[in-house]
């Protein structure tokens, strides 16, 4: 009985200290003015990292929201804090468009 109780307690403790699902880093490549993948499924706490292969700077900008600067041949990142679907674009080249689906 004692061993049984301990093992129940043990597994309960483990359940309580078990970390929540690990946050992921999702990479979006920018090559010749195209975000790829153009649409990303993510969740709150995940980080989006844009890898810019172009020789010119881009941004990932949400109208009325956040903006990430992505310098040429460099990276930019943001950790998602809010659930919901957002469209983003490049402020310098508004013909570049991307989309994020952020689950809670």
């Amino acid at each position: 009985m004692r061993a049984g109780a301990l093992s129940v307690l043990g597994s309960l403790t483990l359940a309580l200290v078990a970390p929540p699902a690990l946050a992921a880093t999702i990479e979006v490549t920018i090559d010749r003015l195209v975000y790829s993948p153009a649409s990303v499924e993510a969740k709150v706490g995940d980080t989006i990292e844009w890898v810019n292969k172009d020789v010119i700077a881009h941004t990932a900008t949400v109208k009325g929201g956040w903006e990430v600067m992505i310098p040429p041949k460099s990276k930019g990142r943001i950790t998602l804090k809010q659930a919901g679907a957002v469209d983003y674009f490049c402020r310098f080249h508004p013909n570049m468009k991307g989309h994020l689906n952020v689950a809670p």
């Binding site: 010749r32 003015l33 172009d54 020789v55 010119i56 700077a57 040429p72 490049c90 402020r91 310098f92 080249h93 508004p94 013909n95 570049m96």
Partner: protein
């Protein structure tokens, strides 16, 4: 190159943040594209030809710049941005209908196609700035 000169003029003359920021974006992007084009020219060991299209673009840009130099304030901002919309439209038209179809080198074609996307972006960006000036 003339687009960079117009940008430098705007950075110097304009007092509107949106316009100055746009001009800085133009200066930076066009310098990067020019550098790539010059690198490719060197690599391919070709001589960039002065053709009727580039001559017409250069002439129009020079005239436009002379006009801009005489303007101040809001009149300058509006003329500069309207000119940027028109200039990018013209360049994009030349790229789409003439330069890209006649490019027979794959690297050159790819550079021109990327250039077209960049300048289409600039055209939209300029249109957006023009909207904020009204």
């Amino acid at each position: 190159m003339l687009d960079i000169e117009a940008a430098k003029l705007a950075i110097q003359k304009s007092k509107t943040k949106e316009v100055v920021d746009f001009a800085k974006d133009m200066e930076r992007d066009h310098e990067a594209v020019n550098k790539q084009a010059l690198d490719l020219v060197k690599k391919l060991k070709v001589k960039p030809e002065d053709n009727a299209t580039s001559q017409a673009l250069t002439k129009a840009a020079k005239e436009e710049r002379a006009k801009l130099a005489k303007l101040e304030g809001t009149a300058f901002d509006k003329a500069y941005i309207e000119n940027e919309v028109a200039y990018h439209k013209q360049v994009n038209g030349a790229l789409e209908t003439l330069l890209i179809p006649s490019a027979n080198n794959a690297e050159l074609k790819s550079l021109l196609e990327t250039g077209l996307k960049i300048f289409q972006g600039h055209e939209q960006h300029a249109e957006h700035v023009a909207g904020t000036l009204k």
